[in-house]
Symmetry: C2
Subunit: 196 residues, 2 copies
DNA sequence: CATAGAAGATACCATTTAGTATTTTGCAAA
DNA sequence: TTTGCAAAATACTAAATGGTATCTTCTATG
C-alpha cells in the first residue's frame, strides 16, 4: 500500500511538471509514462483516464501548493496591504516553484480547460475562490483595524488586484523574462498606498 | 485571384472562430476544413502547414482587429483616463466580437503557444507592444496637458492596467459570466482617479 | 476557342493518441 | 508454503492527427 502511493504521487508530480511547461493537451500519456519510467499498465491502474489524472493533479498537487503559497501568506502580517504586496513580490520574484516562462499553473489550467471541461472549471473555481475570499476577509479586517480606508470596497479591490497578478504572469510568459514584473510591482505599491 | 483570396479569408475567419472557442491545439485541420466546406487540397494550397495558417490568423485577422478595437480607441478622447476607462468598459461589456466565456483571443494565443512556438511569441509580442506603446504615449501626453499628475510613471501604470485587463478576462472565462467584470471596472475607475 | 497554370478535390499515409485486454510479478496473511 | 489480490508490465487497438501525391476543374489571357 506504501509503494503504490509512491508511484501514484511520482506520476502526479512529474505529470504536473510536464503540463506546467507544455500544457495539458500537448502532454500525452505516453510523454508522462516515458518521463516517469512507469508503464501504461501502472498508469491506468492508478487513474481511470487522462482527465482523471488531470483532476488529481489539481486536487492533490496544485490545491495544497496553492493554499500554501497563495492563501496562507495573506494572513501572516498585521497590515493586509503589506501582506498583499509581499505575497505578490514573492510569488513573482522569489518563488522557485513558479517559472516566469511558464506562467501561473492555475491560470494556465483555467485558460486551457475552461469552458470545455466542466469538472476542471469546477475545481479551478474552488481554488480561485479560496484565494478571493481570503483576500476579501483580510481587507475587511484591515478596515476595522484602520490599516485600510473605510470607504474601500473589499470585493472590488480583490478582483482588481488578482486580475493584475494573473495578467502580469501573461506578460512574463510572453516576453520570457521578469522585466515587466518590476513596473507592475512598483505601481501595485502605489495603488495599495491609495487604499490607506 | 479574387476567388482564391476569398477562400483564403474564409478559412482564416472560420479557423479563427474555432480556435478562439476551442484553442489552437484542439482545433484540427480536419475540423477547419469541415466547417469551412473547403477540401484539404485547398487548405494546403493556401497554407504550407497548420502553423503557417495560425500565424496568418494572427497577422491578417487578429492584428487588424486588435488595432481597431484595442489601440485606436485609446486615442479618441482628450483625457487619456477617460479613453482608458471607456476602452476597458467597451471591451468587457459591449464588444460583441469578444465573448466572455472564451476570454481574450490575444491572451489565449499567448497562453497556449508561448514559450514553445517562437514565431507565435514574436508576432504576439508585436501585437502587445503596439498596445503598450500607445497607452504609454497617451499617458505622457496626458501629463503634459494636465489631465494626469506629473509624478505618474507611464510605463508602470500601463503595465498595471493591462495586466488587470488580461487577468479579469481569465476570471470571466472561469466563471463563465461577466459578474467579475463589474467590481473590476469600478475599482479601475477608482484607481484611474488617483492618477489625476 | 485553346490552353496553361491557378485553385480545388480525393484518396491516402505514417505517426501519435487515449485507452484496453491479458499476462506477470510482488507481497502479505493464512 | 501456498494462496489471493494489489501492482505493474506488455502488447495491442481504433480513432484522430498533420501532411502529401495525384488528379480534376475552373478561369484568365492569347
Amino acid at each position: 500500500m506504501k509503494k503504490a502511493e509512491a508511484t501514484r504521487l511520482n506520476i502526479l508530480h512529474k505529470a504536473f511538471e510536464l503540463i506546467y511547461e507544455k500544457g495539458y493537451q500537448t502532454t500525452s500519456v505516453d510523454d508522462i509514462i516515458a518521463t516517469t519510467q512507469v508503464t501504461k499498465g501502472a498508469f491506468y491502474y492508478h487513474f481511470k483516464s487522462k482527465d482523471d489524472m488531470g483532476l488529481a493533479i489539481i486536487n492533490d498537487i496544485l490545491k495544497p501548493t496553492f493554499t500554501n503559497s497563495f492563501v496562507k501568506p495573506l494572513q501572516k502580517e498585521k497590515n493586509p496591504l503589506d501582506s498583499i504586496y509581499t505575497l505578490m513580490y514573492n510569488l513573482l520574484m522569489n518563488n522557485e516553484f513558479l517559472k516566469v516562462e511558464f506562467g501561473c499553473p492555475a491560470s494556465n489550467f483555467t485558460q486551457e480547460m475552461t469552458p470545455w471541461h466542466a469538472n476542471f472549471s469546477k475545481v479551478l473555481d474552488e481554488l480561485t475562490n479560496e484565494w478571493i475570499e481570503t483576500m476579501i476577509a483580510i481587507i475587511e479586517k484591515g478596515k476595522k483595524s484602520e490599516f485600510i480606508n473605510k470607504s474601500v470596497n473589499a470585493k472590488q479591490v480583490t478582483m482588481f488586484i488578482m486580475s493584475g497578478y494573473w495578467g502580469i504572469r501573461n506578460f512574463g510568459k510572453l516576453e520570457n523574462n521578469k522585466n515587466a514584473y518590476l513596473p507592475y510591482l512598483k505601481e501595485l505599491k502605489n495603488y495599495l498606498n491609495t487604499l490607506k
